[in-house]
């Protein structure tokens, strides 16, 4: 393998609801930052879009920072297929020789990326939270990929010196997209691809909607989150959340004990959130939880234990019982709203 033949940063752009999903826009933004950081490489940011989508959708990658958009188009490719996407990616890798491939660590991305990496026998790092070029060699294109492991208790920086492309999936919600600019210049490379020769043994029978309990806490301005200290009293959080306009979050401990659904889980194995205000109630602050919320703009922690680790990331800490304080908060806001003036 001649590593010098491989260049540029390719970003897989996942479509959802007829748009490029935020998690991919974030990766385009990160790729722009990386390329700017190391101008000597003269690398491009290449967005890769696959499917039966409109040109307009594919061009969105250009508006969000791609210097070039490769659109692998086929009218028959109406939904994701592990085998077809892997095969199309393999052709792309053989043909275009990307040095780096970034894929969002969504359910789709984490299904696809290992398959591609195994097929082309390269390394893959999962669910990264930080990317940098080799800090010790200013000319190097070696990617330093940092990710949490052991439930967020430990961080590892992973490199792949011997194989290309360098592949990684990246956790949604961590990187910053660039501002949309519909006037940006970029190269649009649409390729009609054949999929008739690819046998897909997995067939999609139907799509089922999740019950309306499927909340999306990542979009909330305020998250009121509870841990094991809340026990079977999440209704107290729910009432308060309703009053202050928050979504309810939870630690892994609370979810594992069955106090609240998995959709609410914040942390390493749950969701990464960065609301304007995060209120942590009865959450001790295990590293794996902190990893999912420490980028919140403002953190309020309520815990009975003054030594709880959660206080170390909080802007303000209140030592006390959340189950006592929250109903009083609910009442406080209700009275404020009911005042005649």
């Amino acid at each position: 393998m001649n590593i010098a033949e491989y260049k540029d940063i390719y970003v897989f752009c996942e479509e959802r609801e007829n748009k490029i999903h935020d998690s991919s826009l974030e990766l385009l933004g990160e790729a722009v930052r990386l390329v700017k950081d190391r101008p000597s490489l003269n690398y491009k940011v290449v967005g890769v879009v696959i499917g039966d989508h409109s040109d307009e959708l594919a061009k969105m990658a250009g508006h969000y920072g791609a210097d070039k958009v490769i659109f692998l188009h086929n009218e028959k490719l109406k939904h994701y297929s592990t085998e077809i996407y892997t095969e199309l990616f393999m052709d792309l890798i053989k043909n275009d020789k990307p040095d780096i491939i970034l894929i969002p660590a969504t359910v789709l991305g984490r299904d696809l990326a290992p398959r591609i990496a195994a097929r082309c026998d390269t390394g893959l790092t999962a669910d990264a939270t930080k990317l940098d070029f080799d800090p010790e060699n200013k000319e190097s294109a070696l990617l330093y990929v940092t990710r949490p492991a052991f439930g967020g208790n430990l961080f590892g920086t992973i490199i792949n010196e011997t194989k290309r492309p360098q592949m990684t999936t990246i956790r949604p919600g961590v990187m910053e997209p660039v501002h949309r600019d519909p006037e940006r210049d970029f190269q649009f490379d649409k390729r009609e691809v054949s999929i008739d020769h690819i046998e897909d043994k997995v067939k999609l029978i139907e799509v089922l909607q999740k019950d309306n309990m499927a909340v999306d806490i990542t979009k909330a301005d305020i998250i009121l989150s509870g841990g094991r200290g809340i026990g079977d009293n999440f209704h107290v959080l729910e009432e308060c959340a309703k009053m202050i306009g928050a979504e309810v979050g939870a630690s892994r401990g609370a979810v594992d004990k069955g106090f609240i659904g998995k959709d609410h889980q914040v942390g390493q194995t749950g969701k990464t959130v960065r609301p304007k205000v995060y209120i942590a109630c009865g959450i001790s602050g295990a590293v794996q939880h902190l990893a999912g919320m420490e980028k919140s703009d403002y953190i309020i922690a309520i815990n009975k234990d003054p030594d709880a680790a959660i206080f170390s990331v909080a802007n303000i800490g209140l030592v006390g019982d959340a189950l006592e304080i929250l109903p009083l908060l609910t009442e406080e806001i209700r009275l404020y709203r009911e005042r005649p003036y």
Partner: protein, 262 residues
């Protein structure tokens, strides 16, 4: 029908503590458990066995102590247990691990392979799909329910972020299971006594027909450059107030940020 279940013995990460002075993990006394997604996968295999009849084989790669986990799986109802263990296998990344697992699996008969979606120590979710690729088999990951199972095919429900997909696949194939798919059964008393009488099949490097260049630490394309623990910094005001004053404090913050309209 032959079902292979791929499992990993992992440290219980919820029990891990940090040595704040040294900035390292305290590993001593951390109990090991069967990885939760894998254990749920074992339960699915056992339910398929109960319903349709099947031989369930537990397969793990790990150090010799992983035998303890396999004994527990025997006690749950596994028919056969295999431990892939060799110094040459150790330190493997997911690609090298998959090469090793696939080398063993190529030697045996199977209709379905079940792997847990991801392990709680690494959280990569890569070994299931990569093993499928190395075996040239189709995969369905993030499986939350098995709806149909027969000699020819399996129909499953896959959990995505905002919905589910019902997917069908011909056998043989690989599915990766979420821990929510099934609550693992307890070990049976009869099972526990038998668990220590049953043989565990040990496979070492010499038993697998595999290129030493694609396994273990040396064969792994990804390398860990460094590890570190999160530095904990204290920048917060910690207040000891009574309940009422605490509630007022939070209310004031939210009002100052204009979140509380009339």
């Amino acid at each position: 029908m032959n079902i292979l279940v791929l499992l990993k013995q992992v440290p219980d990460t919820t029990e891990m503590k940090i040595d704040k002075e040294k900035g390292t993990l305290i590993r001593e006394g951390v109990p090991t458990i069967t990885n939760p997604d894998d254990l749920a996968g074992m339960e699915v295999a056992l339910r398929l066995k109960d319903k349709y009849g099947a031989k369930v084989t537990a397969v793990t790669m790990g150090p010799p102590q992983a035998e303890n986990m396999l004994r527990e799986l025997y006690a749950m109802g596994a028919d056969h247990a295999v431990l892939l263990t060799d110094r040459k296998f150790s330190g493997a990344d997911t690609w090298a691990t998959s090469n090793t697992l696939a080398a063993f699996i190529k030697q045996v008969d199977f209709d379905l392979i079940i792997a847990g979606r991801q392990a709680i120590d690494g959280d990569t979710a890569q070994v299931g799909p990569q093993t499928a690729e190395k075996l040239g088999l189709p995969q369905i990951s993030y499986v939350d329910d098995v709806l149909e199972f027969s000699k020819e095919k399996i129909v499953v429900k896959k959990a995505l972020e905002n919905n589910y997909e019902v997917l069908e696949c011909s056998l043989p194939c690989v599915i990766t299971t979420l821990s929510t798919i099934a609550k693992p059964r307890y070990m049976r008393v009869m099972g526990i006594s038998h668990a220590f009488e049953k043989d565990i099949t040990i496979k070492t490097f010499d038993d697998l027909n595999i290129d030493p260049a694609i396994i273990g630490l040396k064969g792994s394309p990804t390398k860990v450059k460094k590890t570190f623990t999160k530095e904990v910094h204290s920048n917060s005001d910690i207040l000891h107030l009574d309940g009422k004053a605490s509630a007022r404090k939070v209310a004031e913050i939210l009002m100052d940020m204009n979140f509380i309209g009339k």
